[in-house]
């Protein structure tokens, strides 16, 4: 099973979604991301879609669900590297990921997460 590795960088969990993610792998990722989040107490999640060229409705739904779950666990998600074709497919499927933060690439995503988490600390 081609599992997606979840890397912990400080306060952030990093997962790079692979191109040929099967439905079962997607579900496994959902599961492991949420359990890992609970275990480590991380405050941010960065999902990297750079290498994903196509999405289907299942992966789109999975993305929506996992972000909602992460939000429930009190963490912030940033999705980065979405390709034009993927963006157009998601919009056509009506999965516009409303309320999800996005960035062009991982570097900008980390910056965005950093500032989002930094602000929440100052406010708290």
């Amino acid at each position: 099973m081609a599992r997606v590795p979840i890397i912990r960088v400080g306060d952030i969990l990093l997962a790079t979604i692979q191109e040929d993610l099967h439905d079962s792998d997607a579900l496994a990722l959902q599961e492991s991301l949420t359990t890992e989040l609970e275990r480590t107490g991380a405050n941010g999640v960065l999902l990297d879609f750079t290498t994903v060229q196509t999405v289907d409705s299942f992966l789109g739904r999975m993305l929506n669900d996992v972000v909602a779950a992460i939000q429930l666990l009190g963490a912030t998600t940033v999705v980065v590297g979405i390709q034009p074709a993927v963006a157009m497919t998601l919009v056509e499927l009506g999965l516009e990921l409303k309320g999800i933060r996005t960035a062009l690439d991982a570097e900008r995503g980390m910056r965005l997460l950093g500032s989002a988490l930094g602000t929440s600390v100052r406010e708290g």
């Binding site: 979405i82 993927v86 963006a87 998601l90 919009v91 960035a103 062009l104």
Partner: protein
């Protein structure tokens, strides 16, 4: 005769391609800011073409802000609004923020009467105001080198 007809057909095809290219220019008005002036009516084919060009340019120029200028769109009805929102949504997925500028009072009233919700998209009346907002988002400021001049957009 046959040759003539073929040449004419070819000419029309070339012209169509040229018009297609001309009607949706994506301009990098500043580093990180793209402007998309939309002239004329927007149908499905054109919206899709526009969208593709825009998304490619966002990646290419690594832009953070997109300004959609609808000053020259004669009528914004349900279909046009849907196309615009699709463009906004897909650009957002790439990490860019989108403003729609050039709304006339008539367009605003049409949208309200049709009960269309632009879904929290930031709108402004003129391109200048959109650009001002874009500069603000990027932490840039336009200052005049002459003391008494008002440099703010109309």
């Amino acid at each position: 005769m046959k040759d003539q007809a073929r040449n004419a057909a070819q000419l029309i095809e070339e012209q169509r391609a040229t018009i297609n290219e001309l009607q949706t220019p994506v301009i990098e008005v500043w580093k990180g800011i793209l402007a998309l002036p939309i002239v004329g009516s927007v149908d499905t084919a054109r919206a899709q073409d526009m969208n593709e060009r825009l998304l490619d340019r966002i990646i290419q120029t690594r832009s953070e802000i997109v300004i959609l200028d609808i000053t020259a769109v004669p009528v914004v009805d349900t279909a046009v609004a849907k196309h615009l929102l699709e463009t906004v949504s897909s650009a957002r997925l790439l990490g860019a923020e989108v403003f729609i500028v050039g709304l006339s009072s008539r367009t605003a009233m049409t949208l309200v009467h049709l009960g269309l919700d632009l879904g929290g998209v930031i709108t402004r009346t003129t391109l200048a105001k959109g650009l001002e907002l874009a500069f603000d988002r990027l932490g840039l400021r336009v200052v005049s080198s002459k003391p008494s001049r008002d440099i703010r957009g109309s």
